[in-house]
């Protein structure tokens, strides 16, 4: 290469971690091992909503190579979560989503652990599931977390109101009203979750993991196991992609629990299928939008109702629906706004952080609204945006006055030549 690597500002930099990665030496958690390690496997619920009537563990305990079979009874404080500790380490009685871990089996080899896990019998009473957030948010819907989230499945509601929408509608000469829906997504980071947990020579619990959030992991592990923070050390290994999907606890506490219980190093490695079961997803959102504008193409008013499916556990849902609400207008100045954003618990896989963190989904709605308005007004989609974008001095729906560094106009003008002949159709 011609340009020099190194230097200061403007120089090219080699990623320090790239060396180990191109040589195959970078250690992801599945790549590390300790003498005498055993292997743990979680038995997960195939049902999205169920009561556990009983467990039969004798066959698993007798299986070849088994070291320990653990249940919720072995977890001192059975809950974790980034905002609310509403997610059990091992389910005691109430299964809220398919993939909830119920029993943890530890054995000398991975094959023995999987074989023994196959011999665990869980007696489920399958319950009707709440899969539609609109249904789940109704008052008469059964509450999924009465102890932690109370009698409603709505874990979060953020109203963002500005101005006077009645006035906005009076001024509007054109109205567009539509429903939008986005789908659930998985991050599908390439490296399935893996953990190595062990008790070190000082008697401290060490958990080696690929995580986005080591200090939080340490707190949750310590809390669940009834240990002090200084008894737990979380060591972040190479992280094989995350995209938000490694912000919550996946295998960390289970591996730590097994290591603490057996006092042996414990390895857990998800298969790809288990990985899909054991981390959060992107929130599907249903968005009802109604937008009004003058004939001159100036936005006067917008009302939106955004319902995010939180799935079985809260995770980051409040923060994500907050972000959705705050970004609901897009980069457009609208004098009168009424946005209501909700996060609703259901029996779907739990949803949490993923690239954009709630700001990504409303794009579909607000930009589609702009295109539809352009069509109604006979303007180009570019023009209708130019007439409404944030500029220095604009006030957002939350009342923030943008004092500087607002690049929208420059950006729109810069892309115009690439858009070709775009018309309002």
């Amino acid at each position: 290469m011609n340009d020099v690597i190194g230097g200061t500002v403007g120089g090219r930099v080699l990623r320090e971690d790239a060396w180990g990665k191109v040589l195959g030496q970078a250690a992801f958690p599945a790549d590390v091992r300790r003498e005498g390690q055993i292997y743990a496997v979680a038995v997960r619920s195939p049902h999205a909503h169920a009561r556990i009537r009983g467990l039969r563990l004798d066959e698993a305990r007798k299986a070849e190579g088994v070291v320990a079979v653990l249940t919720s009874a072995d977890v001192p404080h059975n809950g974790h979560g980034v905002l609310y500790r509403d997610q059990p380490v091992l389910v005691a009685d109430h299964v809220r989503m398919a993939g909830d871990p119920v029993v943890l089996v530890g054995a000398e080899t991975p094959a023995q652990a999987r074989a023994a896990a196959g011999r665990v019998e869980v007696d489920y009473e399958v319950l009707p599931g709440l899969f539609d957030p609109e249904e789940a948010m109704k008052e008469e819907a059964p509450a999924l977390h009465p102890e932690i989230h109370g009698g409603s499945n709505i874990v979060y509601h953020l109203p963002v109101y500005k101005g006077d929408t009645a006035k906005g509608w009076a001024e509007a000469e054109v109205t567009v009203e539509r429903d939008y829906q986005t789908q659930m997504l998985d991050h599908a980071f390439l490296q399935p979750e893996a953990v190595l947990a062990y008790v070190d020579e000082r008697g401290h619990l060490v958990v080696e993991v690929a995580t986005q959030y080591a200090h939080y992991d340490r707190g949750e592990i310590a809390h669940a196991l009834g240990l002090k923070f200084n008894q737990v050390r979380v060591r972040t290994r190479s992280v094989g992609g995350a995209f938000g999907g490694r912000e919550d606890i996946s295998l960390q506490i289970m591996a730590a629990l097994m290591a603490w219980h057996t006092q042996r190093p414990v390895k857990m490695e998800n298969t790809r299928e288990e990985s899909f079961y054991s981390h959060s997803k992107r929130h599907p959102m249903r968005m009802h939008y109604k937008t009004g504008a003058t004939r001159a193409g100036k936005l006067t008013v917008m009302e939106a109702r955004i319902v995010g499916d939180a799935g079985a556990y809260a995770s980051w849902s409040p923060n994500i629906l907050r972000k959705a609400a705050i970004h609901a207008t897009g980069p457009y100045e609208i004098p009168h706004v009424r946005v209501d954003a909700y996060a609703v618990l259901t029996n779907n896989p739990y949803t949490g952080a993923m690239r954009g963190f709630g700001a990504a989904q409303p794009v579909l709605a607000y930009e589609s609204q702009m295109d539809l308005l352009a069509r109604e007004l006979g303007l180009s989609p570019w023009e209708v945006r130019l007439r409404n974008i944030y500029r220095a001095g604009s006030e957002t729906a939350t009342g923030q006055v943008l004092s500087g560094s607002v690049g929208m106009e420059e950006c729109l003008k810069a892309v115009k030549s690439y858009l070709g002949e775009v018309s309002g159709r």
């Binding site: 690597i5 080699l14 990623r15 971690d17 191109v22 040589l23 195959g24 992801f28 399935p192 094989g240």
Partner: protein, 154 residues
């Protein structure tokens, strides 16, 4: 069962279970953990190794199938100070992000350049098409392979 295979130029005699995959043998028995398991079903290419000059997904090769063959893993390429041109190009082009796909990518590129030192863009794209990068750094990766082809040429 007993198998014999050459791994990175070294003859290995191993006692293995017939259910074991080449991937398991490399990782668990030989501790060559540069070969990664991403999906276990031939979708992602993270476990790519070169067997007798051809890339295969080591998660879909049984121990017995590998018996008698020569396998190259990422550990069999360069070292610090003597990087393989593909490794050097990945490093310099910034074609590495989380790194989990990198060993497989590097081996797919090496197999291509061994077969054809002057591939065109289309041929590079096809050769790399069995390796997924979820960080979506494909552009840099393809550029790195082009750069490596230039180096091989010199």
């Amino acid at each position: 069962m007993k198998i014999e295979l050459k791994v990175n130029g070294v003859d290995r005699r191993l006692e293995v279970e017939p259910e074991e995959r080449l991937l398991d043998i490399l990782r668990e028995r030989l501790h060559l953990t540069g070969t990664k398991e991403g999906c276990g079903e031939g979708e992602c290419g993270a476990c790519t190794v070169i067997m007798d000059g051809k890339t295969v997904n080591s998660c879909m090769v049984l121990a017995g199938q590998a018996d008698g063959h020569a396998v190259t893993t990422i550990e069999g390429l360069g070292k610090r100070g003597s990087l393989h041109p593909v490794q050097k190009a990945f490093l310099e082009e910034g074609a590495v992000q989380c790194g989990f796909c990198t060993p497989g990518m590097v081996l797919s590129a090496k197999a291509l350049l061994d077969r054809n030192p002057h591939p065109g863009k289309e041929e590079i794209a096809v050769a790399m098409s069995g390796n997924l990068c979820r960080c979506t750094g494909y552009d840099r990766i393809l550029k790195a392979v082009e750069r490596a082809a230039g180096e091989v040429e010199q």
